[in-house]
Amino acid sequence: MAVQARNMATLKEISMRLKSVSNIAKITKSMKMIASTKVTKAQRAMEAARVYGNSATALYTHAETASAPDSKDLVIVVSSDRGLCGGIHSSLAKGTRKFLHEHPNSSLAIIGQKARAQLQRDQRAKIAITFDGVSKNLPTWNEAALVADEIIKSGVQFDTAQVVYNQFKSVIAFDTVTVPAHSLKSLSESPKLAAYEVEEPVLKNFEEFTLANTLYWGIAEGNASEQAAKRTAMENATKNADEMIGKLTLTYNRSRQASITNDLIDIITGAMAI
């Protein structure tokens, strides 16, 4: 009697587990499909943002702008508020920590709750300003401009802003890179800037414009990398869930057959006793 009860309890547990894993598989599968469609859109926005960003920062190459080795930097980390995207946010945190280790005289601006949660643990003192709720949908230049505006309004002093973001290499790969946006001071000190005809107020406006442009570039690429990583993560999760379903189904059937066999044995020994 006791053996029977134990088997049936296990059977029910297994079937409940089977049901919940199937539900999870359905959820992760639909999340993967959503992420796939978002990747194509995000990639298109990113290609345009890349051309735009490269055009905006071409001046640095021609004027040979560089940041001095002891410059005071503002590290702007471009992450997001969304999770379930693989190693996106940890990679950003790691890259940021490495940079801060090499340039201890820097402050931190963080876009996105996930990176903030990771960096708050050990770099809280360096955080100058954080942003939530950026790029809920496709990234727009307006958002980047607003972020740049807030950073400038906050009055944090820096020689060069270093934008840390995840560069989209392919649907399955990304790289955490850093791209500079130079301040007026760094720009004015560029070796070849003297070749250019420019008025001082225009240069100041250009500095702010380029900060917004570089941020937009980082946000667009980061978004594409994130959607791609989310797609891969959900694909792996669905695969794992399917594997679990397979194993659980086998276990369930074996338990069911064992319990039937036990019932038969009881009945037969009972019949033989008569």
Partner: protein, 160 residues
Amino acid sequence: MFRHTLRAARPLARTSAVRAYATEASANRLRVNLVVPHQAYLKQVEATQVNLSSTEGDMGILAEHVPTIAQLKPGVIEIFSATEKPQKFFASGGFAIINPDSTLNINAVEAFALEDFDGEAVRRAIEDATRRTNTGSEEERVIAKIELETYEAIAAAVPK
């Protein structure tokens, strides 16, 4: 001895190669990139002349123009090329940078081909913006004033 002469010959070859490349780049052609955040309208397009209006005044840019960083005013950007019809875009603002190698990078926040504008919609927008310059907070009035400036520039540029 043979190796020594080879090594001496190599640096010469390099400098002459560099010199040839430089002449090619600054030939009589301007290369124009016109980009907005979500689209690249013109990529490395060869042009003979580009007219645009900057905060320092209207500029006509030809190849080998002195390198400049100019801030754009809301206005028309005209691109003339040897082979195609002149193209006209209206840009709301941004920057134009002429580099020493005769490339012109125009980064506009918003820009559209002039023929895509609807004169009627512009007129309505001007009325609306004019109304708003007289009502609301200081910030709202300034915003309305900037809008009005832009719309009037569009109205002046769009063919009736």
